[in-house]
């Protein structure tokens, strides 16, 4: 009552103290109406506080007790740094180890983790929350990621699909696809026309789970979509169904463009050089490929998920060729030409279309998860500096032995992008890789060259992945570099990048600290 008067102001609402307790009315001194209003408010506050009684509430259920060990205190500072994203390179390893030992975060850190862990990091933190963390997560909608029950039932994914936020709906459909593919597809089909292009693109990707011939009709229809992105995505799914019209159509087109050269059309031709080669006893000419992509764009190709306009710097025909190859199972080429992957790549050598074909084959190996082709391609592409960057998407498809062999080779030649190559090798590293890295790291430390990015990447990977025992003999060299620079020695480049070396040393010490508490 008095609050309402105070809100409106005495200029707008006349002062009336009649409803105040009589004790307060009695002791109010005469004053202006404004001051009287405030005096009454002050006295009422005093009166209410002095006579305050407790409220009544219903207590919610407490958190269950949890027998899991808590993360040791000595790691809390490190944990804080991980949460701030300072150790993103090693945090996945550590999180996995903590999860393996069933460690939980101490309660004092739970609220910070729940509110600050980034979306990408949440799956790493979630298993560390423990019973207490999941109990806490139920208190705020934004913390729902912490609750995350690993296996959802079809019923609740159907509900989330109906009224979730866009990202949630995609996740729900994904989950639904793995439990009941047909129901999920018809749910998608029923809203397909009303979704925005961006959302259609996210949603169509979910069909990859449980993809089958039943999906062909829906995907065929999606090839007519207005959005280029959706058409391409539909095509990438359809070609994975070998019986689909699209798969057949594309293979046929590619066979018209690429053929094994008949013997007389060997790369040197039947002319002078060819005869010379024959006379010198070069043996039968190595098989060669005849490549001739179409020179005119056919409008119907848009329906095959192909794009007409090449990106800047790439020829249109080369671009079309690359796209078609990317949509055909690489194994087809063996049937078509009768050559093994390595031989086929050999035959490609020297062709004008070499780069387009290689890039198309890399994409195809990834799309069709073809390990044999991935290995052949990775070996071939590793031979030259210019093509080495194309290997990146193939690492997950390579066998572990192949990865190690390639990594060792890359280290020998000082290849760029060493860190992603080494990150692809499963831990713990086999002895051969460990000793190669150790040897190369020693060399890089003995003659530090801050302009050699490959050497710096190697040192970073060594600090991150080499077992601590293998790092121990290198530490004096490492420290020596930092100390020399701190004392004002070393060239300008080294001084400029010394923070990298400091960072390596800090990482190694943090690893020692972590391993001491939680042995691997």
């Amino acid at each position: 009552m008095i609050l309402q008067q105070a809100l409106l102001g005495s200029a707008n609402a006349p002062l009336s103290l009649a409803q105040l307790p009589p004790q307060i009315q009695d002791c109010l001194a005469p004053a202006t109406a404004e001051l009287q209003l405030l005096l009454a408010a002050g006295a009422l506050h005093l009166y209410q506080e002095a006579g305050r009684l407790p409220h009544r509430v219903t207590l919610p259920a407490p958190a269950e007790h949890d027998g899991s060990p808590l993360l040791p205190d000595s790691l809390l500072g490190l944990l804080e740094q991980c949460l701030a994203g300072q150790w993103d390179e090693i945090w996945p390893q550590w999180a996995a180890r903590l999860q393996r030992h069933a460690y939980c975060l101490p309660p004092a850190r739970l609220a910070a983790v729940l509110s600050r862990a980034g979306t990408a990091q949440q799956p790493l933190w979630q298993p560390l929350l423990g019973t207490r963390g999941r109990w806490l997560a139920a208190h705020q909608a934004e913390w729902a990621w912490g609750l995350h029950a690993p296996v959802g039932t079809a019923v609740d994914s159907a509900a989330r699909w109906l009224d979730g936020a866009p990202a949630e709906r995609v996740a729900a459909l994904q989950q639904w696809r793995s439990s009941d593919a047909a129901a999920a597809r018809s749910a998608l089909a029923s809203v397909w026309k009303t979704e925005k292009a961006e959302q259609r693109l996210d949603l169509i990707h979910t069909l990859a789970a449980g993809l089958g011939v039943d999906d062909a009709a829906f995907l065929e229809a999606a090839l007519n979509d207005r959005s280029q992105g959706v058409r391409s995505a539909a095509a990438r799914l359809l070609v994975r169904l070998p019986q689909s019209d699209l798969a057949q159509r594309l293979q046929q087109r590619a066979r018209q463009w690429i053929a094994l050269a008949p013997p007389e059309a060997s790369p040197l031709g039947g002319g002078f050089l060819g005869k010379l080669a024959a006379r010198l006893g070069a043996g039968p000419a190595a098989p060669a490929l005849l490549i001739e992509p179409a020179s005119e764009w056919d409008k119907s190709w848009s329906r095959d998920g192909l794009v007409e306009q090449a990106p800047a710097g790439e020829g249109a025909r080369s671009f079309w060729l690359r796209q078609v190859l990317a949509l055909i199972p690489p194994a087809c080429w063996q049937q078509h030409t009768g050559l093994a992957p390595a031989a086929l790549l050999q035959a490609l050598h020297g062709s004008d279309w070499q780069e387009a074909v290689l890039r198309g084959l890399v994409d195809a190996s990834v799309l069709f998860a073809d390990g044999a082709w991935a290995e052949a391609l990775a070996v071939q592409l590793s031979r030259q500096t210019e093509t080495r960057a194309l290997v990146a998407p193939l690492w997950p498809l390579l066998g572990s032995e192949c990865r190690v062999t390639l990594c060792c080779a890359w280290i020998e030649v000082g290849a760029a992008d060493l860190s992603s190559a080494l990150a692809a090798c499963t831990l713990p590293w086999p002895p051969v890789l460990e000793s190669t890295v150790q040897r190369a790291a020693r060399q890089a430390l003995q003659e530090p060259d801050a302009r050699n990015d490959s050497a710096l990447e190697l040192l970073g990977a060594a600090a991150l992945h080499l077992p601590l025992a293998a790092l121990q003999p290198l530490l004096p060299l490492w420290n020596d570099i930092v100390q020399r620079v701190e004392a004002g020695h070393g060239d300008w480049h080294l001084r400029y990048r010394i923070s990298l070396f400091r960072r390596h040393l800090e990482l190694i010490e943090r690893r020692q600290q972590f391993d001491k508490e939680i042995p691997p």
């Binding site: 707008n12 506050h45 506080e49 407490p62």
Partner: protein, 443 residues
Amino acid sequence: MPLSEEQVMALAPDAQVAAAGRKLALARSWGLLAKSARAVWGECQGSGAKPYQVRADLGDYAAKCSCPSHKFPCKHTIGMLVLLAQQPALVKDDVEPEWVSAWLDKRADSAQRKQARVDEAPAEVDAEAQRKRQEKRGARMEDGLAALELWLGDLARRGLAQIAGEGPDFWDKQAARLVDAQLPGLAARLRALAEDVGSDEHWPARVLAGLGQLALLLQAAKNRATLPAGLVTELDLQLGVALREDEVLAHGDRVQDCWQVLGQQIDEVDHLRVRRSWLAGRSSGQLALLLHVAVNQQAFALPLLPGMAFNATLAFWPGTLRQRALIEGEIQSVALPEVFWHGCSIDDHLQQQAAALAVQPWLRRLPLVLAAVIPLFDGRSWWLAEADGSALPVHPRPAAALWNWLALAGGRPHAVAGEWEAGAFRPLALYVDGRYQLLGEGA
């Protein structure tokens, strides 16, 4: 119980120093690291050629570093203490080098000299000059109170709803006028109200109550001549006409005890950091408030760690309610306690509050330790409850502290210390399994 990393973080003057200190908590940053019974010291390699020499007194965690940083304690000090907290085994016992023992001796020396100065007979006072000063001050205060009355009247006429739209200038100017009129106590109340405006749905009730208290103080000042002597002293304390520290030491009540730092709250006012430390005496049960002020990122003169305990004599400002105090002489730290020594129920607290209001009607804050309460959030408001469901409201801010409390308690009762202010509780710290856990903003 040894020092915890959290407590070290509470010493850091700002978040930057805290983060930088954590980064320095690496063995490789320290060329030398050792401790004795009374101190810990180390040499940290900085950007210069010579390493920085860092030393900290283990008694009161005062520290000194040879680095040029203008923040105290600096990141090197924090780094060294974090390392001591994280990996105590790394810090070996050793004989104090000269640069450590010299510093410790100098500290002890200056403490003695300070004590000696206090013990000396007060310098002769120029009675005439003092009377003139007081007259001048009295006139200024009267003008300030009259201006406040006008301002409050204007505010009540326009109404709180309209005032909500005013910018910070509206409040700041009046607060500054109160400071000029030598009424800092009222200025501080006004600033706190300004911050509360619009903070949640219940702010009008709290701000109105605060304005009402200001009006009551104003009225009391007008009627000063009719008030009993004790209440006049209390009124002056509230207006901000506090006795000087040497006067408190000369005239205030003294209580000797072992004091536990229940919790701390640091407010930033302009370029000052004002730290409230709430203490409770082990055998007396007496509660006390210590105020310390630091400029910018300078260190507080007395680095008190929340959760620590020490033997000391406190001298209280005279008034009707013993609350604000200062430390007489030196403090002697004792082992960190594993519980709050005293705790009360919700009913006890409400009775104590009523008794306190009876002698000090303008009461702003009351420290309290509740022996066994559960925090809970009902989707709109925060509460603390006892096992039987009786409950008190909790301030909605800072929210991070409340979520932390919820996480630490897990729906079960624990002892918690905090402040009662404007009809709600603000938690500062609690004990979980014998361990002191900070809740405030920094935690």
